[in-house]
Subunit: 142 residues, 3 copies
């Protein structure tokens, strides 16, 4: 999907499509593909972690750990983003603020909300899509 | 809403509007209107069912059964789609992959997640919107 | 974000962006900012309330009460809108129908669905965005 940053409507929609790709990659265990949606030196900070995770190899490792843990527990995890607000900045980056839920479903059971968070990203244009340069996730329960 | 398949931004948005119409029709019990959002020979397959449902009369019958069952139980059902990823194909169809939740609310009670699924559609352009030619719904709990 | 009412794709996206701004303002306790997303004589009706709330000062007061109550209880509230259907009308207003969830998260606990509702808005263009002229929220549990 092309992402002409100059048009706010195209921008909002392109970021949605980008997030759909990104979250589906993570939830499917395609963690290298997920890590590649960050810049090579991309940073993932969260109030749940003492220190930010930086760079694709480290990001992929964290994602793999979480995915494997879910598999071991026999649950399927889904990341839902919503209420997306995007703001193009003068330097060509895009600030994106959204709500994010983690929903887990055990085999044979009902889905449950696991986490409610706010996700704040700095996105940079890349090819005809985006990369996350910095992500800050704030869990509502902490 | 017009759905110019050639523009990926318009495509993504038009599919969202199509899904909103489709899900609101089902959740409101307008099951014939819902069935008409499929092609006449439209197919609905699900890992919850032994065989796919095919054709508008059969689709409407299944939807009516589910709606009546919810009414009998005194619950309101809402279908939420999110994390939509669309991919136009060379044959003019569109592949759409999204997450879908079913949320049920009993009279006098709190809402609950009932199902978490992945919904994969092949959409065909129709008038200024879309029709579902094939739908495959995969429940996370099965 | 510009909101050229004549283009249905731009319209759908601009309303999403508007709602993201509006809900994030409320959930963050910026209740005056939230009230200013309504017209000066904006009306909020709900099947949970005996009478509609009218005008920005009254709207802000209701929002402040709800926000303070949540703070007192030690929970974070998030309003999620989804399945948005927009319909431009001949008089220049826009009818928007969406599903809305309230998700609450206690400190140290898991998030829970608090309300499932349908939100029907009449929006009027304002500057490069929108204002709510009339909102009707129908809770599924009542």
């Amino acid at each position: 999907m092309t992402a002409p940053v100059t048009d706010p409507v195209a921008l909002h929609t392109a970021v949605q499509q980008f997030y759909a790709h990104q979250m589906q990659a993570m939830d499917s265990g395609r963690v290298e593909e997920w890590a590649e949606t960050f810049t090579p030196d991309g940073v993932f900070a969260a109030n749940a972690f003492p220190e930010p995770t930086k760079g694709r190899p480290a990001l992929a490792a964290v994602a793999r750990h979480a995915f494997t843990e879910a598999e071991t527990q026999g649950v399927v995890r889904r990341h839902w983003l919503g209420m997306l607000y995007v703001e193009p900045r003068d330097d060509g980056t895009v600030f994106a603020r959204s709500y994010a839920l983690v929903i887990i479903t055990p085999k044979g059971g009902a889905p449950a909300l696991s986490r409610s968070t706010v996700c704040e990203d700095v996105l940079v244009p890349h090819s005809n899509s985006w990369l996350v340069q910095e992500r800050a996730v704030t869990r509502d329960d902490l």
